[in-house]
């Protein structure tokens, strides 16, 4: 039997107003993208707590996408996206210390009219994470 190709699982935290709407638009436009992403809707990218991201990696996510409204002015809640950006960039440094490639954590700005961009981001992310291989936590025994 041939080895099955590694299919990463990506958890996406999408803000309700822009990115989730963009993902819906990708659907409405029938833009096909790989089925590797699992979306969790939050009202704002500013709701995304580093704790959610760490838990996602701990539970085996191969990648995490945080997506919100475009900087600097699109956030439905004025400035949640800035907080998300700083948290994610700081968390990436910490992830590196934990031995998890920071490249597994993406932050993207996707508007409600960018169904195509959402699909593209997911496709690219799947491609890049396939190159990285599975979440290293899944391979290590814990010690």
């Amino acid at each position: 039997m041939s080895e099955k190709e590694f299919e990463p699982i990506i958890v996406g935290f999408l803000c309700n107003w822009c990115s989730y709407a963009g993902a819906d638009l990708a659907g409405v436009s029938r833009i096909q993208y790989p089925p590797n992403i699992r979306v969790i809707r939050v009202m704002c990218s500013g709701r995304v707590d580093p704790i959610f991201i760490l838990e996602a990696f701990k539970n085996g996510a191969d990648g995490v996408l945080v997506a919100g409204c475009h900087l600097p002015a699109d956030c439905h809640y004025l400035a949640g996206n800035f907080k998300a950006l700083r948290r994610v960039l700081l968390l990436k440094r910490v992830l590196k210390e934990f031995g998890i490639e920071p490249e597994r954590l993406w932050i993207e700005w996707i508007s409600a009219s960018e169904g195509d961009k959402f699909a593209k981001v997911v496709s690219e992310m799947v491609k890049e994470i396939k190159k990285l291989g599975p979440n290293p936590l899944k391979r290590s025994g814990g010690k």
Binding site: P50, F82, R86, L90, V94, G142, K143
Partner: protein, 331 residues
């Protein structure tokens, strides 16, 4: 031994010994302890062997205060043994509660530690490149020493723990509170719910006397870089203080001498992780005032660059208790 008296035990595992001293820091209150309890096991103060513990009947000890994390096989064996022999097992101090400072070793592993300690430091003279091995043959026979683990564990990751006393070391009032609560509880049968951290629910900020005004900060300073205003919140002055993300109960003793909290009290009751909680909090307020001007990745990276050693800062005491627990080694 007194009739009707409780039986207490103290033990240390991977710790600095500070917790042992902290027990004595309660001063004359120790006499009250002796009044209600006999100390049946305390290697640092008594001449007693492990064999003596093994000979005790199960649940013989009423309350065992266990300090230090678990980083070798001996500590694990003793944790399991004491669990078996104790009615109540208390993780006493940051190391057994959260892994403590030794827990930072989880950023590396045994191989790297041995290499560094036994081979690479300047002061080391080890021409034969010897590193500890669990079993060594010498002419007298086979020598066995405890196995050193790759990962430091908290006590509760190894055995079932009833209560936790936070702090590095626990503040005097925490020790007194724990002793009184557990002694009275045992005697009256009114113990706190299992799993309780024997400390207040609120964060260090609640106990900190410094004035809090606005948490919008734009620059980070290390403590030696700035003469602080002793009246004002240190975090608001750009000094990273773990107080907001750290469970109180220490009377903000560090803040009272103008030193920032480093987080020995561990996470707040509903916070799943102290490190991530502080990362999120700090990243939220750092640069918030100029966020609409400075939001390019480069500019944000520059802002973050001010945080020197993030993992050492945010996970100083609680790395083994964090969500990811340790670094994944790529070997």
């Amino acid at each position: 031994m007194g009739e009707g008296k409780l039986k207490f035990a103290f033990y240390w595992a991977a710790s600095c010994g500070g917790c042992e001293i902290a027990v004595l820091d309660i001063d004359e209150k120790i006499l009250d302890v002796i009044h209600v309890a006999d100390i049946v096991f305390w290697p640092v103060a008594m001449d007693i062997k492990y064999k003596d513990v093994e000979r005790m009947s199960d649940k013989y000890i009423d309350v065992c205060f266990f300090n230090g994390g678990i980083r070798n096989s001996e500590q694990e064996r003793m944790a399991k043994l004491l669990r078996q022999k104790s009615k109540i097992l208390v993780a006493y101090g940051a190391c057994s509660h959260l892994g403590g400072i030794p827990g930072l070793a989880n950023l590396t592993d045994r191989e790297d530690i041995f290499k560094k300690v036994y081979l690479e430091t300047f002061s080391t003279v080890n021409p034969e490149n010897l590193v500890p091995k669990p079993k060594v043959r010498v002419k007298e026979g086979e020598l066995e020493i405890p196995e050193f683990y790759d990962t430091v564990h908290t006590l509760s990751q190894v055995v079932d723990v009833d209560y936790y006393v936070p702090g590095c070391p626990p503040a005097v009032e925490r020790t007194i509170y724990a002793l009184e609560t557990l002694a009275n509880g045992m005697l009256k049968g009114e113990l706190p719910p299992k799993g309780s951290v024997l400390a207040p629910l609120k964060s260090v900020c609640d106990e900190c006397p410094k004035k809090k005004e606005s948490k919008k900060i734009s620059r980070i300073y290390r403590i030696y870089e700035k003469v602080v205003d002793p009246e004002r919140c240190l975090l608001e002055q750009g000094i990273i203080c773990m107080g907001p993300a750290t469970r109180g109960g220490c009377s903000a003793r560090c803040l009272k001498v103008d030193m920032p909290c480093t987080g020995c009290g561990g996470p707040c009751p509903e916070s799943p992780e102290q490190g991530a909680a502080m990362i999120s909090a700090l990243a939220s307020i750092l640069g918030v005032e100029e966020e609409k001007e400075k939001y390019s990745a480069e500019e944000v990276e520059k802002i973050i660059d001010q945080i020197v050693d993030p993992i050492g800062t945010f996970y100083m005491y609680a790395l083994p208790a964090s969500i990811l627990k340790r670094r994944v080694m790529r070997k």
